[in-house]
């Protein structure tokens, strides 16, 4: 039985070591090379951490294949990896590290000044330096032999409502299950070539990485700037013969917005899969008109259930304004709607989408309170412990019994494919001396995050500049509104409903 994702790599590297596994604009590495490099990193890490296992290894990630070597190296050392975007503001990186208490931080030479600023963490290493270590096969074999499939594989941070991001911890077993389901459902195989758009600190990329590893396929990292300059993007996709894309909806939408496909087409695509936010039917129809042949799949699920729990293979026509179903659960995954302690089954009735099964994350790392809130006992099972994850998403069934995502229950939004707690933006803005009070409201029509704030004087520029030091770019408000005084409701809380009406 498969217990560890490294068994994929070991298998394919043994079978045909020459075949390309990972590539980017600078280099392409074969299965054998990836295994050798990852073993080097694993050996070096294990030695430097005196054999410690089961600990977090933070990896500063860029848009090259190098972070993948660090991830797999961390796993060879018996630890788990935590991707951190090297372009995140320093303040946010520090909050994440504070939660993690990482055993080590891995970066590349280009991260020298960033690593220097993270002075409270002693164990920081350059990937380049670790790669010089000779791999010790016996040591790695022993480490791998002692691993369980319930051990954590990675933690990925998501926005948290109180201001601190939460690290979602996922086991090998959940990822092995995911890769199995994707292969079976969508026919992934050895000649698939994945075009990786999603950054590695975004769990959409987990599907690329482990679908490539499981199936002995290849993965090419697509640089971010190519999405601004699509001629290069399409040329790159055709050069690498990309067959399968698992992208954020926002990436597909960029190509529609710029009307790329009527001028230039990807020639090898067989799978176009998307998730992250609701796919506008206009965008889907644009893609299907210009590229009718690939299989289009709408995927749904939060990071806490290992990427996706339901899928909808697009068939039939959809008109603008219609909602695209998120479909039905993957095999070995339980999904149901919960409302007032009862399961909702009749079409059209709303309920909170709940998930159970192997796909459930282990919890939020070093955060038992938030873990207990979101991962709770199945209310229909009084006989033995059975965890479910409450997504906080509202859904309903259509007449064909397909699940439809309706909205969020709380102040969480999806913006440019990112999951954002408006509370986290408010907490960051409120911490600024110039801001006396504030409230964030999302304008769904315009897709703009609007920050209403109260203070002595209007100071939009200063606020944006300061927020830019704490929050990633996609969380910055697109619109600021100064008020001498913000409206409050009868409970004395800022009246968000009144503010939304002002949008």
């Amino acid at each position: 039985m498969l217990r560890n994702v490294l068994e994929y790599l070991e298998y394919w590297a043994e079978k045909d070591p020459q075949k390309p596994l990972f590539g980017d604009v600078k280099e392409t590495l074969s299965r054998g090379e990836v295994r050798d490099f990852a073993r080097r990193v694993g050996t070096a890490l294990s030695q430097r951490l005196s054999g410690a296992t089961g600990k977090p290894v933070a990896v500063l990630a860029d848009r090259s294949l190098r972070p993948l070597l660090a991830f797999l190296g961390a796993v060879y050392s018996g630890n788990f990896y935590v991707p951190i975007d090297r372009q995140m503001p320093l303040g946010r990186i520090q909050v994440m590290l504070e939660t993690l208490q990482p055993a080590a931080i891995l970066g590349q030479r280009q991260d020298e000044s960033l690593l220097g600023q993270l002075s409270e963490w002693p164990k920081k290493y350059f990937l380049e330096e670790l790669l010089e270590t000779e791999p010790k096969e016996a040591l790695l074999k022993e480490i791998l032999g002692n691993r369980l499939d319930t051990d954590p594989l990675y933690a990925i941070f998501t926005s948290g409502s109180t201001g601190a991001p939460k690290g979602v911890l996922v086991s090998h077993r959940s990822v092995i299950d995911l890769a199995d389901q994707f292969r079976e459902e969508f026919g992934f195989c050895e000649d698939c070539v994945f075009g990786n758009q999603a950054p590695f600190d975004f769990d959409v990329s987990v599907k690329d990485i482990y679908s490539a590893l499981k199936n002995g396929a290849s993965l090419y990292v697509i640089p971010k700037t190519m999405f601004s300059f699509p001629t290069k993007l399409i040329d790159y996709m055709n050069e690498k013969k990309i067959t399968s894309v698992i992208w954020a909806v926002s990436a597909l939408r960029i190509l529609e917005n710029l009307d790329v496909l009527s001028q230039k087409k990807p020639l090898w695509l067989r799978h176009v899969m998307f998730s992250g936010e609701t796919m506008p039917v206009r965008v889907l129809n644009y893609w299907r008109t210009h590229l009718p042949d690939p299989l289009y799949v709408n995927l749904y699920g939060p990071t806490e259930i290992t990427c996706n729990c339901t899928f909808f293979k697009v068939e039939g026509e959809f008109r603008e304004g219609e909602l695209l179903p998120v479909g039905r659960p993957f095999k070995n995954t339980g999904v149901f709607l919960l409302e007032d302690g009862k399961e909702v089954k009749e079409p059209g009735m709303l309920g909170e989408i709940c998930v159970k099964g192997t796909c459930l994350a282990l919890g939020y790392y070093n955060n038992p309170e938030k873990t207990a809130e979101a991962f709770c006992q199945n209310p229909f099972n009084k006989s033995y412990p059975e965890r479910i994850y409450r997504t906080g998403d509202l859904g309903k069934y259509d007449r064909e019994g397909r699940l439809i995502f309706v909205s969020r229950r709380d102040y969480q939004i999806k913006h440019q494919g990112h999951r954002i707690e408006l509370g986290e933006i408010e907490a960051a803005a409120f911490a600024l001396p110039a801001v006396k009070a504030c409230a964030c409201v999302y304008d769904r029509g315009q897709e703009v995050i609007c920050l209403f704030y109260e203070g002595e004087n209007p100071c939009d520029k200063e606020i944006l500049r300061e927020l830019g030091k704490k929050l990633p770019r996609y969380m910055l408000p697109g619109r600021l509104e100064y008020r001498k005084q913000l409206p409050v409701n009868k409970n004395g809380k800022i009246d968000r409903t009144a503010l939304s009406r002002e949008l």
Binding site: T225, F227, S228, F229, P230, T231, L258
Partner: protein, 77 residues
Amino acid sequence: MREELLKILNELRPEIEFEKETALIDGGVLDSFDIVALVGDLNDAFDININIEDLLPENFNTVDAMLELITKLQGEE
């Protein structure tokens, strides 16, 4: 034309001093969402049609480069 362009840019990203930037794209100041919004705004404001052949980093790295692109496309209309 410069003033109108700067107005569009400042509305898009008020915290950036566009006149001082020399690598808006290569330096990662503007991302793909900005470019999508910007292309739409420029097409409307200057009555031009920026197609994907014009979408090159060098045409968007500086305010001057953008002006040059707009002028070129207006000449073609």
